[in-house]
Amino acid sequence: MTPLVAPDPLPPVAAAPAGARRRPGRARTFVGQVLARNDGRIGLLILIAFAVLAAFPDLFVGRLETATTATGRSLQPPGGGYLFGTDELGRDVLNMTVHGARISMAIGLMATMITVVFGALLGIIAGYVGGRTDTVIMRISDFFLVLPTIVLAIILAPVILDIVGADAELFGIRATMIVIVVVIGLTSWATTARIIRSQVLSIKMRMFVDRARVIGSGPGRIMRRHVLPNVINLIVAQAVLTFAIAVFTETTLAFIGLGDPFAPSWGQILNAAQSAGAPGLGAWWYIAPPAVCVVLVVLAFTLVGNALDDVLNPKSGARR
């Protein structure tokens, strides 16, 4: 008997009509729940827009303009066929910004995958196995937690580039981009691991884990089948937030000159604008589009992450 709660007036059996004894379409209601929230709706809308831009940039603005294919005059203000104006080389800022979405979001996606895979894996192992394993993983995570991203990138970038060569490509991805992805992954897996570990610690004490052990399930199966489904909500929410952080970090790194000069990510554009003296020349149109895009994407991910967190959190009562 829980105080202050109506004594469950519906017998559990009566709750399900005879024919409809199927699981309610969880995926549908789940997306529906995210969409039912304002933050979820706005966030998703922005993300879908950017995803489409990133997927088919040529369709909207044509091929990426380079110094040789540039059509405009230097630092032309918005208007006259150039919606966002041009840069110092006469390239269309709109064209670059749209193509930049592709690079920025690709980096974000890769960094997120690294972060979430490592973070979730180490978090679950640390939490479930416990003992010395836990202590060691958590101390290592402490180290990475306090590691400054930018300093690490400055140190690692030349090292990695020296090893693989600046022009090396890995699965079609340029080495400089890999550096960025690795740096972002290294510095953000620790947060994810910590959050997931703390959740696993409480799941480990639940009876269904004991039951799984008693019927002979090994630790691998228990982590896969019983622990993972119970932290998947955290993982999803964490992934979304990590994506936002990754896009932001990439921008920062590119801005301070650690980006790939041949891949016009938003950070690269900002960096180029700065070195071209755009702020001093009052060429705001050169800075604003990529900056606003970064802010929008980060905001959108935060909104969606927030909505997901609420919807997926069983304690919020939104589900059931």
Binding site: M1, T2, P3, L4, V5, A6, P7, D8, P9, L10, P11, A14
Partner: protein
């Protein structure tokens, strides 16, 4: 309903009211009984429709008396108690009926008017409340809080009073500075009781107050409640599925089934010579270490669907004595000379049923049905009607 709200208040009650630290509410009728609940109906709005969790419940609680409300989970016992001070969940409403405290009907009161009575006149000890103490606040401060807020006392006097209260429930005054984690479960439950007593209430409702505790601690807490009732003239309402708690502490018991009263009366009568088949089943399915036979009865079936209760007696589908009339007509409440009220068609009027001789030796309960399938031939039970049953 057989309760007469105009029953005069006896001298015992007057004596108990004389001990009050705070005056009676302004509107109180000093001659009125402490608490009269008449034909109370509580509804819950559910996604699947409206549900009557409490359906026409009446009872009375006198000064210094202890009433136990028993029944399976989902029978409406907690809802009944919480609706007295309207601590219902958001989808619950009192639909009809009266809750008269000192003759003041609480049902039409607004939320702010009711606040005067909540905790000051009627306080509640919840199940597992000892785990709901604020972990970062000292016990003494938490006990003193209602005194400060509800009674508008100064901080110092609230703290002083908190110390007295803690001592009253058996926690040494010097432990008032302890944090909840420094106290054992039993001690914390004592602190919760001290909080319930803080405003010197007329009625303390205990909602499964000992359920989460160990047997020995449970015995200690029950002993404490008994003593407080005696010393302070408290009136207790104990809501529990544990019949032994009621047997130990209460004067009267009200057995509820599916939102209605099945049987109500003095513990000494109801528990030794139960009339309602549900009461009998409940008692005989309770493991009793002090009884001779190691047998336990089974109540087959489950509570009826509250959205669509059986039209007649709600226990009829599970009752081994059910007759045709039980499935169609709601049994009326009949009051017997020994103070027991029963709602069962086996007892259509007060003089139909032969009773156990009150003067005779206490009759042991016939626990369980004989294995040959014959009906229990318990004293005081009329022979069940079998003619209408399918072959």
């Amino acid at each position: 309903m057989t309760v007469d709200p105009r029953d005069p208040v006896g001298s015992a009650a007057a004596e108990i009211r004389g001990r009050r630290q705070w005056p009676l509410p302004k509107l109180a009728d000093p001659k009125a009984p402490l608490l009269v609940v008449d034909d109370l109906t509580v509804r819950f709005r559910m996604p699947a429709g409206s549900v009557k969790a409490v359906d026409g419940v009446s009872f009375r609680l006198d000064d210094g008396e202890a009433l136990g409300i028993a029944g399976e989970s989902g029978c409406g016992k907690t809802t009944t108690a919480l609706s007295l001070v309207r601590l219902l969940p958001a989808n619950g409403r009192i639909k009809s009926g009266k809750v008269e405290l000192f003759g003041i009907d609480l049902v039409p009161k607004t939320e702010s008017q009711l606040a005067r009575y909540r905790w000051r006149e009627i306080s509640i000890v919840f199940q597992g409340a000892m785990n709901a103490l604020n972990p970062v606040q000292r016990i003494g401060d938490q006990v003193g809080e209602p005194i400060e807020i509800r009674l508008g006392q100064s901080r110092e006097s609230a703290r002083k009073r908190a110390g007295e209260l803690l001592e009253l429930v058996g926690i040494p005054r010097k432990r008032a500075d302890a944090y909840p984690h420094e106290l054992s479960g039993g001690m914390r439950q004592r602190a919760i009781i001290a909080m319930a007593l803080a405003c010197d209430p007329a009625i303390v409702i205990g909602d499964e107050p000992t359920t989460a505790l160990d047997v020995m601690v449970q015995a200690q807490i029950l002993q404490l409640l008994e003593q407080l009732r005696h010393d302070l003239g408290l009136s207790l309402m104990l809501i529990t599925h544990d019949l032994s708690v009621i047997a130990e502490t209460c004067d009267r018991v009200m057995v509820m089934y599916a939102g209605r009263v099945a049987e109500e009366g003095p513990v000494s009568r109801v528990f030794t010579a139960p009339r309602h088949p549900y009461t009998r089943k409940l008692l005989s399915s309770f493991p009793n270490i002090h009884a001779d036979r190691r047998t336990l009865d089974v109540i087959a079936g489950a509570l009826p669907d509250p959205r669509n209760p059986p039209p007649g007696c709600r226990f009829a589908p599970r009752c081994s004595f059910a007759m045709d009339v039980c499935r169609e007509v709601v049994p009326p409440e009949v009051r017997f000379a020994d103070g027991v009220r029963v709602a069962c068609h086996l007892f259509p009027t007060a003089d139909t049923a032969p009773l156990v001789q009150a003067s005779g030796p206490s009759v042991p309960l016939s626990i369980g049905r004989p294995a040959d399938g014959a009906h229990e031939a318990a004293p005081g039970m009329p022979a069940p009607v079998t003619g209408d049953r399918a072959p």
